[in-house]
Subunit: 742 residues, 2 copies
């Protein structure tokens, strides 16, 4: 062999070996290398598949089954639906990883079956001259039967007060003061009020302060039916409320099981003695339909009420007391309200279904709705549950096929006994407080999924705005040509954002559904998603058959959402939000959107309270500085996110960032801020008096301090509330700052 050859072979061999080394090192990826290989992230193909598979027809079928029978909390049908959910979520083809029912023992309130509640006009001699309907008219064959609970005011105490009738408009404090100003003696009267204006229970609370003995509540056609009231114009001939329709509801002032505040309602839990329970209406209360309300109201004596108090019953509303001469009843007739409600300890279950996260199983995205209804509850809540079941079916199918598993865990929830006061969800948050607070990324609530067909409507805290927008931009709006849900939405609800320009306007979260304990008690970023009205076409307070026996499948199928396109749109929107939250490597919570809220709250405080505070030598300076500190920290964090997104995608680094995003909402909690407001700990979203959108603790304290006769203690409370919100904002800013900094 020649040297050259040997050398050639040697060089060739070295080159081959070298090539092999290079190939081996660079061309063959090592397994499970989370820092250099792409981390598990939102898969847009999977997202498209999910959205494509969400089927309007199946949602319709779900709704038919869910609303087939009345399913009042703790009823046999409610229990049957628990089984239905378990069966669906345990299905081998389309089920989840696991599902279980957790039973609580909670205090509910029901009308007596033996002694029905009744409302009558009674002559001085005791003769019954007129009786209000005890049940709604059976217009579609679904309003009869033993499972239809008669109209009642849950948690109103039993009693049979009788007295002259007065009309008290919406039963607010101002309304009763107006009656007093008019010289009407309220002691011992029965007050007829209409829904709206004040919370259900508040009407009785306000009434009782003036010595009123009993309260009636009805829904005025002006408030619910755009003025229409005849049988021909109402259901089943239109979506409007029939004259006999009655809104049921909980009249309990707080939420959660009334006997176990702050404790889970397990069988062995401590329960308050009934004598120590607060928040129930103080006097007997009963809701009636507008057919009966008309008879009572149009026969009233006394002055004609203010024009703002008038409704659409076709007569002048007078104030009373008592009936007018020459009316349907002798002038000295009275109204008797007989309430025989009973409190009962009942079992109510939450059903939980879990999809285990592949990468971060200890981060939860929660998606829930209540299961219980007042009667058939086709709209409320089954329109939401029908969507929930379809979404879990589509995700479950992908899961069981092995084609997808989310990055984070997904928890689906079907809450019990929401109608009685968000009981199931509240007990759940009490039982798993620490774990949920440490691990939950966000809570998505879809209760009534479709009020009407016009537009998306979302309530939520600022961090969820961006993910909702992202979802809404990529889904076609139902039935309005080729326009996105986002572009449709912006036509109905919008605002001018200093940062983004014209954008759809997110509503803020009150306590109207099961998101309440998540946002107010746990400080978890939450949202509520639905399709809703074109407000130029209806002024109804809510969809007209709300909480009545007319809220049935046919009502939805014919009037609310024929074709179920809006249901599908909500399923797609909520599904997209869910997947983005569960699967995105970088959590899509834009915490810097809180800056806009804080700045606007601050400006409102400066404008609305600044002068008053200055008169009492209280400066908003520290608050302004805290807002600025938050803004600076949020801007710097956004910069950090951009850098990270361009960088190495180290899963631990992104986890640390995501923890900052997830926990930001928690920093606004202070359980010592308003101890008298049960469960409300979020210093930005607690209940607020007045119409100015600003810091609630500060606004409420100012309002109380500004009362005639309030002393220095009340002004000290203003200062305390100011310090509480400053400390919360500084704590929030500290959480957004680079993690090793103090």
């Amino acid at each position: 062999m020649q040297w050259a050859k040997v050398l050639g072979l040697g060089v060739g061999a070295a080159a081959l070996l070298g090539l092999g080394i290079i190939l081996g090192h660079f061309a063959i990826p090592k397994k499970a290398d989370p820092s250099t290989s792409a981390p598990q992230d939102l898969d847009l193909e999977v997202l498209e598949t999910v959205l494509g598979q969400l089927d309007a027809g199946r949602i319709r079928e779900n709704l038919r089954e869910l609303s087939r029978e009345p399913h009042l909390a703790s009823s046999p049908r409610d229990a049957a639906l628990v089984q239905l959910l378990l069966q669906r979520w345990r299905d081998s083809v389309s089920g989840l990883d696991s599902a279980e029912a957790i039973e609580n023992e909670v205090l509910l309130s029901f009308p007596s079956q033996e002694q029905p509640n009744h409302v009558d006009v009674v002559s001085p001699s005791g003769t019954i001259l007129y009786s209000c309907l005890q049940n709604e008219e059976n217009l579609t064959g679904e309003q009869g039967g033993p499972d239809v609970v008669p109209p009642y005011a849950a948690y109103a105490p039993p009693g049979t007060p009788q007295g002259p009738l007065v009309y008290a408009n919406r039963g607010t404090e101002e309304d009763f003061e107006e009656l007093q100003t008019q010289g009407i003696k309220l002691e011992g009267t029965i007050a007829l009020t209409r829904y709206g204006g004040a919370g259900r229970g508040a009407k009785a609370v306000n009434a009782a302060k003036h010595g009123v003995a009993g309260v009636l509540v009805y829904t005025d056609p002006a408030d619910i039916n755009d003025g229409l009231s005849s049988p021909g114009e109402t259901f089943p001939n239109s979506w409007y409320l029939p004259p006999s329709g009655v809104e049921r509801g909980s009249y309990y002032e707080y939420f959660g099981d009334p006997l176990t505040p702050y404790l889970p309602a397990r069988p062995s839990s401590f329960r308050l003695d009934l004598a120590n329970v607060s928040g129930f209406p103080p006097i007997p209360t009963q809701p009636i339909g507008f057919r009966d309300a008309k008879v009572l109201l149009c026969n009233l004596n006394g002055n004609v009420a203010l024009s703002a108090w008038q409704g659409a019953l076709g007569c002048d509303y007078r104030l009373g007391p008592g009936f007018r001469p020459n009316g349907q009843f002798p002038a000295d007739s009275q109204v008797n309200v007989s309430v025989h409600n009973r409190l009962e300890l009942k079992n109510s279950s939450n059903v939980l279904g879990v999809i285990r996260g592949a990468v971060e199983p200890d981060r939860y995205v929660l998606y829930g709705n209540h299961r219980d209804s007042w009667v058939h509850g086709a709209v409320d809540p089954s329109s939401g549950t029908a969507v929930l079941l379809e979404l879990s079916r589509v995700l479950g199918t992908l899961l069981k096929k092995g084609t997808w598993r989310p990055r984070r865990s997904i928890v689906f929830a079907s809450w019990g006994a929401e109608e009685f006061g968000l009981i199931g969800s509240t007990e759940f948050t009490e039982e798993f407080f620490s774990k949920l607070q440490a691990r939950t990324v966000a809570y998505i609530n879809v209760d009534i999924s479709v009020f009407a067909n016009a537009t998306l409507r979302v309530q939520g805290t600022p961090p969820v705005q961006s993910v909702v927008f992202s979802a809404a931009k990529e889904i076609r709006s139902p039935g309005s040509g080729d326009i996105s849900i986002y572009n449709n939405w912006i036509k109905y609800f919008n605002r001018s954002s200093p940062v983004y320009g014209l954008v759809p306007s997110l509503g803020s979260l009150g306590a109207g559904s099961d998101y309440a304990p998540f946002i107010h008690f746990l400080g978890i970023s939450s949202m509520d998603i639905a399709y809703t009205y074109d407000r130029s076409k209806t002024s109804a307070r809510i969809y007209p058959t709300y909480h009545t026996a007319f809220d049935t499948f046919d009502y939805v199928d014919k009037f609310v959402d024929p074709g179920f396109g809006s249901h599908q749109a909500v399923a797609q929107t909520a599904g997209s939000v869910l997947l983005r939250l569960s699967d995105s490597f970088f959590l899509p919570l834009n915490v810097s959107d809180y800056s806009e809220t804080l700045r606007s709250f601050l400006q409102a405080a400066q404008q609305d309270l600044g002068d008053l505070l200055e008169q009492h030598s209280i400066s908003l300076g520290p608050l302004a500085m805290a807002v600025e500190k938050f803004e600076t920290a949020a801007t710097a964090l956004d910069q950090h996110i951009s850098t990270l997104q361009k960088g190495s995608h180290d899963p631990l680094k992104v986890r640390m960032l995501n923890d900052q995003l997830m926990l930001l909402e928690r920093t606004f909690l202070n359980p010592r801020a308003f101890p008298e407001e049960r469960y409300y700990s979020h210093v930005l979203w607690a209940p607020r008096m007045g119409s100015v959108a600003t810091f609630p603790g500060l606004a409420n304290a100012c309002s109380r301090a500004n009362d005639v006769g309030a002393g220095s203690e009340a002004w000290a409370e203003v200062q305390r509330q100011l310090s509480i919100v400053v400390a919360a904002l500084e704590g929030a800013a500290a959480t957004l700052m680079p993690v090793p900094d103090l």
Copy 2:
């Protein structure tokens, strides 16, 4: 070329290429591959280096500098020490990554310089017959001078009560009841009490309930000096307290700045009106030395006190009231207590020094001690600060050299105004509540590092036991031959563990130092580390010169720890614990050690309270079930940890586990459990009446309910407390369960 050759070359080439590929793939590690390469973990060589460099001589020099002058909170010397700390922690050779001072504006209490407090015996005509010393005797040249604050009871109100003297032993409730039983009229008297038995402030609270007008407190030689009292037997001739020595102290009942409960004490913060502050002693109170106490006590009239009330002053202790005939004073002489303390808003700083974590910067290990002293404070707190500075120097040096950076962030803290009621640390936890709660792995407190030379003494919650044991096993005990600190410790404090057999016994955490807000308010696993007494050699309540002007450098150098070997041992132990917590890949918090505590609390409840509860139809069954649930979850978690430790070392998986370990302690917090116990939210470690170690809420509620005359409300509270602890244990168990489970 022949075919065989070509083939041979081809085969050879393929083999070479293949070999290359194999080498390239397996033999050359890819950079930054956290899942397959070893993650950053505790480096035993670094640990050994650190322990080896902790130098007794340097600790001694630190102590000399720190205790050179009195440094009462907010004094100029206190401010100078803030600068010293900043300078050390910003040093370019041995400093940390960053250091800053955070100033608070807090309410402190000082004696008047113009009107010194004084205690006198006064004849009926008003002549002063005897005056107690206003200052300690200047025995070493260090007890004089304007910077030595005269003995006083901080926060005791000003006033000049005068009345007949009584002796009230330790001033407990039982002590005053005993005096009443003996028929002694307490109204308007001055009560002489000795330290111990009840908290400082409690003596005045108890006294005031019986109409006592003023309180004197002294330290009995029986309690502090093993009976010795003559000048020749005491400092500077021995470590015992000289006759003129007086223990200063805070008499405030709560902790934190008195004007800003639950809010940081920033200049703009809301402050309570003084009229609304609670927790100050209700009546003038003044501490005196036993030289003066002897003159008062040995001249008392009345019955001889119980033997348990006798001390070592060399006379029979009588109860009074008033002086005996034929004694040093006319029998009708009285004692006048003139207190002129003033409350002042003062600036007090915390100093924070940070070492940024390399891998998990958002996980903090906190290590702190207070800086302020009553006088020179050589033992309290400078013995701890001297160790803190040495530890931060050694770690800072490695850091600046670039040879080490911890996995997690380390935060060193020098707290202000601890002596007045843990003020600096409490304000810090209020200001950074959310962030600290979300991110802090553990808090290490080293206040007084050396009480005496005999043995290690650690107080802490169960999860820290294992890491303290690990550290203590690998460090040599000072001055006792070749035995580990652990093996020495077990000789002095031990217990029989059902799980481990004979082990050193960890004490539980009260509120004696700055760990209190971390464990009780934030729920952060905490510990306090020191060297302490051989109890067979002394029965002193605490080291004799505690809170006096005799607690000086020479006192430490000559009597407490000549050679500073115990200081070095504490530095090594605390340093090892710190490094293990900051650097270990798997957090060394053994949460399953809580099982033993819970089981023993349960057994104590069953034994001590079971019968009583049964009489009131209250079952401990749910509590027993909750304890079992916790044990099961903890055992399963231990199994999971073993599996993970053998497995792939995925940093995200270990982070998820570590979060469970870190947050377990948080699950025991319930801010609504004992709202009247300010800051105490930990349902296992809140203050407890009685001597039985069990669940404090339950024990206290039982104790109150069992009082004669307690009604059904008190028994309802027992049931509420039982449900609170059951819910906490179930929440804790849920946190330990596999992370996607509910």
